[in-house]
């Protein structure tokens, strides 16, 4: 099992490249039961939109 720190690294990496099937599965399982990481994931998406706004 991956811990939150490792999951947050994967989530960040997923912003920039497609993860392996295994990693995506691991993410989904972890996110289903961890609201800290779920919030982190949503915040990454908000940050991404914010950066789009920033450069436009």
């Amino acid at each position: 099992m991956r811990n939150c720190r490792e999951i947050s690294e994967l989530l960040s990496m997923a912003q920039d490249k497609r993860l392996s099937f295994f990693d995506r599965l691991g993410l989904r399982m972890h996110l289903a039961m961890c609201d800290g990481c779920s919030n982190f994931a949503k915040r990454l998406d908000i940050l991404k939109s914010a950066m789009r706004q920033y450069r436009e």
């Binding site: 800290g36 990481c37 908000i46 706004q53 436009e56």
Partner: protein, 190 residues
């Protein structure tokens, strides 16, 4: 869009261009020169601007090439001789316990549509980006502002892909934390 209109849109971008160049080069004189060169090049080429992208996007792409050239030119003097992805570890270590769980779980920034176009929010984001530790700032701005690909980033910073992923991840953790403290926490309390 007429050439005049394009030129008028280029002028207000100066501060933005200087800031982005400074994050990459940490040299204000050089950053100002690059911004100037970029604006000049854009104005000279304004009649060739095809309008397929926004003026800001187009001007930023000119700046990107100038930054890549400048980094290459001062390759030896530049700090990346020893970019250490782990150098800013302290902050990240505070966020997680030894077992790798969150010390403090990230709070929700809300599920609704959040209005990112707010001027105040963009100003806070700007401050948070400028406050990033230098190497994280370089990698993150290359990725998210200059829209460079992973290969290009690794080459410019002379780092391995795994170091780049570490820098980008750290940058996002630091930025999230900064935005949370300076913006979202106030919204939660309000």
């Amino acid at each position: 869009m007429s050439v005049d209109e394009i030129v008028n849109q280029i002028h207000p971008l100066r501060d933005y261009l200087v800031k982005i160049a400074f994050i990459q080069l940490r040299d204000m004189t050089l950053a100002e020169d690059l911004a100037q060169d970029t604006m000049l090049a854009a104005i000279q080429a304004a009649d060739r601007f095809e309008g397929r992208s926004k003026v800001k996007t187009w001007v930023t792409s000119i700046l990107r090439n100038k930054i890549i050239d400048a980094i290459r030119a001062k390759q030896r003097a530049f700090a990346h001789t020893s970019i250490d992805a782990g150098a800013d570890d302290d902050f990240v270590n505070v966020l997680f316990s030894d077992g790798g769980t969150w010390e403090e779980k990230p709070a929700s920034w809300g599920d609704g549509e959040f209005d990112l176009s707010q001027k105040q929010f963009m100003a806070v984001l700007d401050i948070c980006i400028e406050k990033l530790p230098p190497n994280q700032g370089r990698a993150f701005v290359m990725k998210e502002v200059l829209e460079m690909g992973p290969d290009e980033i690794c080459k410019s910073l002379e780092i391995t892909p795994s170091n780049m992923w570490v820098l980008l991840h750290r940058a996002r953790l630091v930025l999230q934390s900064c935005l949370d403290t300076k913006w979202f926490a106030n919204k939660r309390d309000a």
